[in-house]
Each structure stands twice: as structure tokens, then as C-alpha cells.
């Protein structure tokens, strides 16, 4: 193997990891979801920084393994660092990723969180606000005549909805 100079290694790692898909939602990449935070040259070599969506996300172990395997396949060596702060938010999801989710059948988050609960706002108001039903268009037929069937869906990051026009159930990626 040729010796790789540091800045090239970072670029090569970005290129290799660019297309790495999320294990639960394979149509979007870890980068698009905001899980892959950074690739940098650390004191001991290449460092890949990832952040969990939810504290208990069971895919984190798989994601770490996938990142390592991808680096290895690209002939790179590096370590994976899990970083909690700043806490992951759906605001980091790109518009391209949102559209990919919709086409895949998952309704993307309908609002930004930063504007939803500014720092210092009391939890009492937050709860009242969140309790107000939100219009989530059906990803299958586009109808806004939909209803939440459950706060929780097949994974921690989704809620379960039903379309009252096309009658199809669908997942909603919760703004978070």
C-alpha cells in the first residue's frame, strides 16, 4: 500500500464514507442523516466522529462496525469516536435526505426543532405545544388528511400514522 499523507487520508475517508447507508433506513446515508459528524486527523491518526440519534439506538453498534469495515475496504485505518454533544437533531437532515425518505414511504419531519422549543422555554409550554396535532402529508398519495395512530413506530425515531384518504399506514420521522 502506498503511504497516504494525512489530508489525503481525510479526503479519502470522506469519499469512502459518503455513500455509507443507515442500517435501519438504507435509502439515506449516515452523512445525510447527520449521524456522521466529522472525519479528522487526530493525534493518533484518522478519527471518524459519529453521534447517536437516540441514547438507546440499537443501530449504533452496527454503524460503528460499518464505518470500520468501510475504512478497511478503502485501505484506511482509523478509530471511531462517539460524541454526544451537541445532541443530534432532525434539523441536520438535508433536504435531499428528506425527499429520499418521502419517496421511500417515510414522511419526513414537518418542522425544524430549533424554532419549536427555544432554549429557556418552559417544559409546560412545550408539552402543550407538542400536544397540538400536526399536519403530516401522506408520503404515498400526498393527502394531508392523516391521523397519528401511535406516538411510537417501528424505531425510536418514528411515529405511526394512517392516511384517511388512501387508507395506507405510514411511518413519520419525528422532528426531534
Amino acid at each position: 500500500m502506498n503511504a497516504v499523507i494525512p489530508s489525503d487520508a481525510v479526503q479519502a475517508a470522506w469519499a469512502a464514507l459518503e455513500a455509507l447507508a443507515d442500517p435501519e433506513i438504507p435509502v439515506v446515508s449516515l452523512r445525510e442523516l447527520g449521524i456522521l459528524r466529522d472525519v479528522r486527523q487526530g493525534a493518533d491518526g484518522l478519527e471518524v466522529v459519529i453521534t447517536p440519534t437516540y441514547s438507546g439506538c440499537p443501530a449504533m453498534g452496527q454503524i460503528e462496525d460499518d464505518v470500520r469495515a468501510t475504512l478497511q475496504a478503502a485501505g484506511l485505518q482509523g478509530r471511531v469516536i462517539t460524541q454526544l454533544a451537541p445532541a443530534w437533531t432532525t434539523d441536520w437532515m438535508s433536504d435531499v435526505a428528506r425527499e429520499k425518505l418521502r419517496v421511500y414511504g417515510i414522511a419526513p419531519p414537518q418542522h425544524r426543532c430549533a424554532s419549536q422549543a427555544p432554549a429557556g422555554e418552559s417544559p409546560l409550554r412545550f408539552v402543550r405545544q407538542a400536544a397540538r396535532p400536526e399536519v403530516v402529508p401522506c408520503p404515498h398519495c400526498g393527502s394531508s388528511h392523516t391521523v397519528e395512530s401511535s406516538h411510537f413506530g417501528s424505531t425510536a425515531c418514528k411515529a405511526l400514522y394512517k392516511c384517511l384518504d388512501c387508507q395506507e399506514p405510514f411511518d413519520y420521522f419525528k422532528p426531534y
Binding site: Y54, S55, L84, W88, P123, V127, A131, H151
Partner: protein, 260 residues
Amino acid sequence: MSATANYLLHLADNAVVLGQRNAEWCGHGPAIEEDIALANVSLDLIGQARLLYQQAATELGGDATEDRLAYFRDVPEFRNYTLLELPHHSALVGYAKSDLDYGTTIVRNFLYSALMVLVWERLQQSKDEQLAAIAAKSLKEVRYHLRHSRDWLVRLGDGTDESHARVQAALDHLMPYTQEFWTGSSMEAAAVATGVGVDVAALKSDWDALVDDALQEATLVRPAVGGYVTQGKNGLHSEHLGFLLSEMQGLARAHPNASW
């Protein structure tokens, strides 16, 4: 043991014990959506517990690991609130058909989530940077747990005569255990003194407002509390914790150091 490690264990034990309790609904939920909801809430709580145990293990050093802390400590070493280890029912009569009462589960999740929304909010400013980061993540999760339990509290309280009576009974049963939140301990005082912990007693009026607002909407009556103040956070537990731990820790203790 350092004040910080003690305090981290208190927070971690709260999360893991309630996470284990709520996981008992897995496969037994009153509706499939609620089965999934409780499993998701448990997943969040166990995730929070893992992060907190990892940080406690770093603080303790030596051979401490998250698994050792969760699986190889005994009842008196656990520092969770007694409220969280209670089974999903109050005293059972001999002809009881089931030992799982969803009203009890909802009321407990509501009382605890209402507290933790306030605690995690303040802990974002903890002097322990990793704890502050865990708090910021956990806050988002517990807000959602509060929304879920509050919605169900209102639905059950303002529901049928039967659902109202059951959730009121659950409230009457559980509310006295919340006295433990506001009764100080040396473990908490030490963490507050170093700027790592939060003074929970100072959060009581905010908690009262959250609780009273929901109870009013749910047409429930807030019971007066008094009498014995439980001391789970000081290691004095009810008989229920032993059964919970034996189930949770059994596999790890039967196969120590196993990996899979």
C-alpha cells in the same frame, strides 16, 4: 466513592430500573401500539443508563465497566427511587386476574417524566461535561415520554368510570412515593456542592405545576401525601427490587464475562 460517581449511579439506576420494569410490557401491551411505545421508552431509558454507567465507570476507574455496574451490584448498592421498582399494580386481592395494571404504569411514567424533564433541563449546565451532554440528549427523550404518559393520563382519567377509578387508585397509591424526590440525601447534597448535581427540592413548584395542570385535564384528584418517606436512593429498597434484579442480572451472573 466520589460524589460524582455516586450521583451518576443514582441517575443510572433510576433509568435502568424503570427501563427494566417497563420492558415487562413487551408482548403484553394493552394494544400493539402501546406495546411498542413502552418498548421504545425502555430503549431510551436503557440507553441513558448505559451512557451514565459508562461515565460512572470512567469516574470509578479500576475494573469498573458499565456491565459490572448494572449486573454485579446487589440491592443495597442500587440508588434508584423506590417508586421506580414497584410492580405495575397496587396491593392485589386474591382473585386478581392480572398483575399488570396499565393505569399504574402510566401514572408512574408521568410522575417520573415530569420530574426528569426538569432535572435534565438543569443538568445541561452540570460541571461534569459528559453529564451535561447526556442531559441534553435525555431531555429530548423524556419530553416525548412525558407527552406519551400525559396523553394517556388524560385519556384514562377523563375516560370511562372504570378507567377513571383505576388511574385514580394508581395515583393514590403512587403519589406518596414522590416524597422521596424532595427529601434530601447526603449523596445529592455532595453532588450539588461540586456543581455536578441539581438541587431537586428547588424543582418542586415547577413539578407541582406540571402535575396539577395534567390532573385537572384528566379530572383526577391529587391525593394528600404523608407518612413514611421511602429511601431507595439511599439503598433502602422495597422487596420488589430483588425480584427485578434477579431477572435482569440472572443471565449475566450465570455466564460471567461471556460475550455474544
